[in-house]
């Protein structure tokens, strides 16, 4: 998968980044500058906007500020459990890109043979997104109760042309075996991962094993890497840029993970803002900033909610 070339006009990013990267956290001036420089704001969800079902303090006001300033607000999550449609009931008015959608969009973009099927190891959201692009799928939660029987031969559908994986709280030997058989025995069968995140804040107070576990289990049998369609793969950027007329140089990615959110922003030529409300702790941030090939965010804030502190000044400046 090729990385989208960074826009030549990144001098804005470099200048601001050079200043901010010397500071552990964004100052008030940095925040006001961000609001000036970036028209399109893309947000991760888990650990950035909410944790499980609890919105992080101050975030709604901060989002409201962006809207008042006329900014485009998009959301991009690696959470593969739901489809895009179901996020609307969390009252997010703007466009959501989720990793389940990214897998379906990817298969659509390569002209996946619609006479074939997809076997899903993951939640219903993936199946819904696949259906939306006309790809037949099976497995997913419908296979939760299935168990491998070693006393008879296990069969598999030879028409499976892709195995699509996401986090699966009902992962089982049966599912791993079925997926592995498709990948090893069906010629050309694609191995697609919505993401490979090791863990996620699927509930507010605990990190839970993520899609990385599902992918790791299958990879341990088939001994090959999947095509990753969610962050940090730049794949969805083409989709977003086209639909929203987004210029990476005037865009900023806000997220809590260095190896997905921030890396996605870097891969697609955007500015990047790391928030400390999710999985990244100070130790990891310092280590990455100190390493020659570490993932370095341009800006860091304790919480995206902190942006609301400059609301009055920002709105004044706009006038």
């Amino acid at each position: 998968m090729t990385v989208v070339a960074a826009d030549a006009a990144v001098s804005q990013v470099d200048a601001a980044a050079a200043a901010a990267s010397t500071r552990p956290r964004c100052s008030t001036e940095d925040m006001l500058q961000l609001l000036q420089d970036y028209d399109c704001w893309v947000f991760d969800l888990d650990g950035t906007i909410w944790r499980g079902n609890e919105v992080i303090e101050g975030v709604l006001e901060a989002l409201e500020l962006l809207r008042k300033l006329g900014k485009k607000v998009l959301f991009m999550t690696n959470n593969s459990m739901k489809s895009r449609g179901s996020y609307l009931d969390k009252c997010l008015q703007d466009d959501i890109y989720c990793s389940s959608y990214s897998a379906a969009a990817y298969l659509d973009s390569i002209g996946f043979d619609r006479s074939k099927k997809a076997y899903v190891v993951g939640e219903r959201g993936i199946m819904q997104e696949l259906a939306a692009v006309g790809i037949e799928s099976f497995g997913g939660p419908d296979d939760n109760e299935k168990r491998a029987s070693f006393s008879s031969e296990m069969l598999h559908d030879t028409q499976v042309g892709a195995v699509v994986c996401g986090v699966d709280p009902n992962l089982s030997y049966y599912k791993v075996q079925y997926a592995s058989m498709c990948l090893l025995l069906n010629p050309g069968c694609l191995f697609i991962a919505t993401n490979t995140d090791a863990r996620g804040h699927f509930t507010p107070n605990l990190e839970w094993a993520g899609a990385g576990a599902t992918v790791g289990a299958i990879k341990g049998v088939v001994e090959r890497d999947p095509i990753v369609t969610g962050k940090p793969s730049p794949f969805l950027m083409q989709d977003i840029a086209a639909k929203h007329n987004v210029q990476p140089a005037k865009s900023i990615m806000v997220g809590d993970r260095l190896d997905t959110d921030i890396l996605w922003g870097l891969n697609t030529g955007m500015a990047t803002l790391l928030v400390m409300t999710g999985v990244t702790d100070e130790q990891l941030l310092v280590a990455q900033r100190g390493s020659s090939n570490g993932v370095k965010p341009h800006f860091v804030m304790d919480s995206f909610g902190d942006l609301r502190r400059v609301a009055q000044q920002a709105l004044q400046q706009q006038k």
Partner: protein, 313 residues
Amino acid sequence: MVSCQAVANGTTQPRRADTDDKRKLIDSVDCFIFDCDGVIWRGDSVIDGVPETLDMLRAMGKRLVFVTNNSTKSRAGYLGKFTGLGLNVNAEEIYSSSYAAAAYLESIDFKKKVYVIGESGILEELDLKGIQHLGGPEDAEKVVALKKGEYMEHDEDVGAVVVGFDRHINYYKIQYATLCIRENPGCLFIATNMDAVTHLTDAQEWAGNGSMVGAIAGSTKREPITVGKPAEFMLDNIAKTFGLKRQQICMVGDRLDTDILFGKNGGLTTCLVLSGVTDEETLLSPENSVHPDYYMSQLSELLAVKEAAKVAA
């Protein structure tokens, strides 16, 4: 038997053993380590001529050790399989990866608790070493519902997670192991083996422990310490237990990537048998770079030495 010499491009091909080779092989080593599946038995049937071959080697004063990467049974559990197939073996001669995990923990003077992903074999071996454990088959039916308020506690005294083949792998186990490894300072991540596939039945290949380990590696971003083939530990432990030097040992197996590589990395003489998963074509293919010192169709070919001795007498 044709012995293969250097081919046109100058590299040495593996050597199909003739009677002289077999005699030389037997004379040059004091100990034979056998992989089990594909060498001693296939599924639940002993490979013909094996009992007599083992008896011959014992009569010649050779030490015999049987290794298997299968962790589902303990050594005592495997003994039942051996005797049921008419093979004369002692439990101490069997090195299952379940035993290897317990032996490893003993070798580092481990005093904490172990969370086990795997079947009863690992638990039994830990019991024999007096090591406390949780998990294993009792977590087989546990379910996680990722809904509001869901939380998982974990035992802070777990100092190691041991991952072995588990037909009842589930998200609860993966998550529990992940919490121990991530939250308990210094918690070890140990894999009995990394085999991608296993031959539980003759009909097809089945996902092996590579998948259980892969799940945990995927959620923790850590690589495990492996105690089974082809990692060094099992070999070190065998050599130490029986007071042997590497040059005194021959590894006999049917897999290039585990058995033969295991033997070569360990400085052993190596012999591939074609009675298991590797065929001659794969062995001799230019894509294969793992070359055993000798190869033969099956273990019982060693009996030719006895026959030759009879004829000479």
